[in-house]
């Protein structure tokens, strides 16, 4: 028995509970950083990861972008502000959607960028609605990834492009290997909620199975690994604030999870990948 790794709680509820505390732990973007030199600040590195996605997505003025799992809405607002593209962000989290819409409004982008409740595996849009499907570090929260990729392919116009980055398995873990890290995976489940990781090759296969032509598939585990040091430092620096929000045990679990993730990166159990694929015109 060997398979993808699936961890924990229902993602929307988990997000709603922890989002405020996570702002103090993961900082504004709530996603991994891309460290080219290793000496970047976390905010610069998280911007750099968004830049990696933007370089693949190549959004243009007037295009329509679907942001699947829109998080804070910062990436969507960047796409609207910097490229003049229309962005629709979806998330199953009401807190997330409300916060993201507030952000777009505060930046006077609400005519270009809107967020609504939605499920990336069952999106409520007609076929060929979007030029770009943007899936930034959200696919690990969707167990039915074949449905996610299938729906992204359906929603793309001919010539459209999917770009996706996420935590990934380095390889499918046999059950006995997985069980040897049992308590570590259960800790990650408690901290990060329900997550199901797959190898980079899985995403490539799913794109191809849905008629998408792979353009880029890169392992960027090395560039993302310094993220954990920053998260751990934030947990220490902001401990009293975070403890007030989510409790001492949860705060310590987060700090411990950073150590686990760093070790999983070192052991090539987990890593990070980025992929883009186009729908034939």
């Amino acid at each position: 028995m060997s398979e993808a790794i699936d961890t924990g709680r229902e993602p929307a509820k988990h997000y709603d509970t922890v989002v405020e505390a996570w702002g103090h732990l993961l900082e504004e973007d709530l996603h991994y950083g891309y460290f080219e030199t290793g000496s970047e600040s976390l905010p610069d590195a998280t911007d750099a990861l968004t830049n990696q996605m933007l370089q693949l997505a190549k959004p243009e003025k007037g295009q329509h972008v679907l942001d699947v799992g829109c998080g804070t809405g910062k990436a969507a607002c960047r796409i609207g502000a910097e490229f003049g593209a229309h962005v629709t962000g979806i998330s199953p989290s009401q807190v997330c959607v409300a916060n993201a819409n507030n952000k777009a409004t505060s930046l006077s982008l609400d005519s270009l960028v809107q967020f609504r409740i939605g499920d990336g595996t069952k999106p409520d849009f007609p076929d060929a609605s979007f030029d770009i499907a943007w899936v930034m570090e959200s696919s690990h929260l969707m167990p039915d990834k074949p449905a996610l990729i299938r729906e992204c392919a359906r929603l793309l116009k001919p010539g459209g492009r999917i770009v996706l980055c996420d935590v990934m398995l380095d390889h499918k873990l046999p059950l006995d290997e997985m069980l040897s890290y049992r308590d570590d995976f259960l800790l990650l489940k408690d901290v990060f909620g329900r997550a199901r990781m797959e190898p980079l090759e899985f995403y490539q296969e799913q794109c191809e199975a849905n008629g998408l032509v792979a353009e880029t598939a890169r392992d960027i585990s090395l560039e993302t690994q310094p993220t954990f040091q920053h998260w751990g430092n934030n947990a220490e620096r902001n401990r009293s604030t975070v403890v007030e929000m989510i409790g001492a045990e949860a705060c310590q679990q987060f700090a411990d999870s950073c150590t686990v993730l760093d070790r999983f990166w070192d052991l090539n159990i987990l890593g990070y990948g980025i992929i883009s694929a186009t729908k034939p015109a």
Binding site: T7, L173, F185, K189
Partner: protein, 78 residues
């Protein structure tokens, strides 16, 4: 409470927690795939909850039980 009842209760709790369909569990019920569909993290949770309840579990002992009955057998072997 029998061992079988305790084991079934733990498995049902995991199914509920993971949003998997509830299932009538018998000793012959298969745990994975076409059975009740426990995936690797469900197995990790099962291992941890069995250990917490019984002080040991078959997975940590190097076994790979295929059915509910195999788990029960592990504890009845004592």
């Amino acid at each position: 409470m029998t061992i079988e009842t305790d084991v079934a209760g733990i498995i049902k709790a995991i199914l509920k927690h993971q949003g998997l369909p509830d299932s009538d569990l018998e000793l012959s019920t298969h745990l994975y795939g076409e059975g009740i569909g426990l995936d690797s993290l469900c197995v990790a949770e099962l291992s941890a909850m069995l250990e917490k309840n019984f002080g040991k579990d078959p997975y940590s002992a190097g076994q790979l039980p295929q059915t509910v009955g195999h788990i029960v057998d592990f504890y009845e072997a004592d």
